[in-house]
């Protein structure tokens, strides 16, 4: 990954985070869940898939599907930065005059399918992957699931069937932020040892830091080369990442913040980033 690429994706994630905070101040949103996967989505759009505002209806485009639909502010933040939607539209957050609500929907350019009910989109992505495979297309299909979403039985049905159908063009990414709603995953339904579970289904399993772009890059490069089995990436992430005052807090799944908090969080975000940048210099 070049310095230029790194800077680009880092800036994309930073600007998108600002948008998430702004949406949280316009009626509230699932901020904790959005900030855990925002680096992953930023990386996927800027470095891994070839999907942009000009090719969103092309037959051979790459696909990204967000199964944990409540993290949609992360997606919209990135969409507005990449030109899928006009930034001004985000001001319509929760307005009935627009379609920017708490879950993704196809009225927003770039959203491939609506989601919200957990445990659905793996199978939808499998259908897309099956058709692309049947047509011998070389495109990539990426589906992101939340770790809490793994409680759903339909996910495991899909995990089993995808492998049997040899849908190796499909890449599954788990946002392992260790929380589901306002509870720690391990205190509710124990997911670990998670890697072993997928290995038992004969998947190639990659575990990585979900916030460090160079590590993400290494992982996704490996996945691109592995075509012998299903591939799954477990990205360890931090709920509320980028805002230490919110990080890893069970009650910060959803937040409806005041304009004062908005200012405070935007400034916190900036300070954290400056500190990291100064360190790396």
């Amino acid at each position: 990954m070049t310095e230029k690429e790194l800077k680009r994706v880092d800036t994309l994630a930073y600007e998108a985070r600002r948008k998430v905070i702004e949406m949280a101040a316009h009626g509230g949103c699932y901020i904790g869940s959005s900030l855990s996967c925002i680096d992953l989505i930023a990386y996927i759009y800027s470095n891994f898939i070839n999907t942009n505002p000009n090719n969103i209806t092309d037959e051979g485009r790459d696909y990204f599907l967000l199964s944990k639909g409540h993290a949609v502010p992360a997606l919209y933040g990135i969409f507005s930065e990449l030109g899928f939607i006009n930034e001004s539209r985000l001001k319509n957050h929760l307005s009935t005059d627009d379609f920017i609500y708490w879950h993704p929907n196809t009225n927003i350019p770039g959203v491939e399918f609506h989601s919200g009910s957990l445990g659905h989109i793996l199978s939808v992505a499998m259908g897309i992957a099956y058709d692309c495979k049947l047509k011998n297309l070389a495109n990539k299909i990426v589906v992101m699931l939340g770790d809490g979403e793994l409680d759903e039985g339909s996910v495991w049905e899909g995990i089993l069937a995808a492998s049997s159908l040899k849908l190796y063009n499909l890449i599954i990414v788990i946002d392992r932020n260790h929380f589901q709603a306002n509870i720690e995953t391990e205190k509710l339904s124990m997911l670990e040892p998670l890697e072993d579970k997928f290995r038992a289904f004969l998947y190639n399993v990659y575990r990585t830091d979900g916030h460090e772009f160079s590590k993400l890059h290494d992982t996704f490069c490996k996945v691109s080369k592995a075509k012998d089995r299903m591939n799954i990436i477990i990205a360890d992430t931090v709920r509320g990442k980028g805002l230490p005052s919110l990080e890893n807090q069970a009650n910060k799944w959803f937040a409806n913040i005041s304009p004062f908090e908005e200012e405070k969080l935007l400034s916190e975000l900036k300070t954290v980033r400056e500190k990291i940048n100064n360190k790396s210099k």
């Binding site: 399918f113 009910s117 199978s123 499998m126 099956y130 058709d131 339909s154 049905e157 899909g158 159908l165």
Partner: protein, 302 residues
């Protein structure tokens, strides 16, 4: 031509079609060898099948999905509602062994609410052919529809020569609205036809209407029956709630037309498992039992 042969020919002529199942191959047993990659079996996983069908459909495919009605409409209900109904994708959902056709399997397998569930989803249409011949008359139009469709698969042998004139929302009029009018669909059609004959033998003129599609439904024929018949009889292998009885009730209220109605359906109960003929006897739904009840009801009115 049977259903399986029809699908094979359809796939040969139209690249968009895909045949899917969740390990229920009874009606499509020979297809895997013939259509290769166009046949997808997800294993016993109805949710995955229907979710995948949505994904395939997003890519321009027209998946024809198969499962036992009970599991297709109930196990994967939310996938149909959310992933197919909301975006109005043209997925076809073929449910087998619905209603009485589950015979001796027991209540776990009895789809007696499938029509209620499927018609309750906006955009989803419902096709309930009377027998194999009626199914083959309507199947092409249904599979080529741009709507999602639930198909109550019915391969009972026909005893009646059905009209080749099929149009969704248009009922087949076997004999027009009369003193008694029988409204029916699907598996109970042959029995309803027999009821009509039995009543006729005793001087009671009966009309018989075969509702090929229940959504959209032929509203005018229902209003006509309510207006002109002394008694409107509904015969269905479905719960009383949500099926044709409910459809008639909804239309009656909306159009402010009512009349005497008698229904033969399953009221808050599952049926006694057994072979088809024995179920009819046990549940007092043989043509003779139904005819006698109608006769008595009319007798009281006279």
């Amino acid at each position: 031509m049977n259903y399986e042969q029809f699908l094979e020919e359809l796939l040969e002529n139209d690249d968009r079609y895909i045949v899917m199942t969740s390990e229920n191959r009874s009606a499509i047993r020979n297809l895997p060898d013939k259509i290769g990659g166009k046949f997808i079996d997800t294993g016993i996983s109805e949710m995955t099948q229907l979710g995948m069908a949505a994904g395939l459909s997003l890519r321009g495919r027209i998946p024809v999905t198969h499962a036992l009605s009970a599991f297709l409409t109930m196990r994967s209900f939310e996938f149909i509602r959310t992933d197919i109904g909301i975006p109005n994708l043209p997925v076809k959902m073929v449910g087998s062994f619905s209603g009485l056709l589950s015979e001796a399997n027991g209540p776990t397998h009895q789809a007696l609410e499938d029509i209620s569930l499927m018609r309750g989803i906006p955009n989803v249409k419902v096709f309930c052919p009377a027998d194999e011949s009626d199914m083959m008359i309507g199947i092409e139009s249904v599979l080529k529809s741009s709507s999602p469709y639930y198909i109550r698969y019915n391969d009972r042998k026909p005893i009646y020569r059905h009209s080749q004139d099929f149009a969704e929302g248009k009922a087949e009029i076997i004999s027009d609205v009369n003193y008694v009018t029988i409204l029916t669909y699907g598996i109970m059609f042959n029995e309803a036809l027999e009821v009509k004959h039995l009543l006729g033998r005793h001087g009671i003129k009966a009309g018989l209407i075969n509702f090929r599609t229940l959504k959209p439904v032929d509203e005018e024929i229902i209003i006509n029956s309510l207006k002109k018949s002394t008694l409107t009889v509904i015969i269905e292998d479905h719960f009383t709630t949500g099926g044709l009885f409910s459809i008639v009730a909804e239309i009656s209220l909306r159009r402010k037309k009512t009349g005497d109605i008698m229904t033969f359906s399953f009221d808050e109960k599952w049926f006694k498992p057994g072979l088809f003929k024995d179920i009819l006897i046990y549940e007092e739904m043989t043509p003779l039992a139904i005819s006698e009840k109608i006769y008595r009801k009319l007798d009281k009115k006279l």
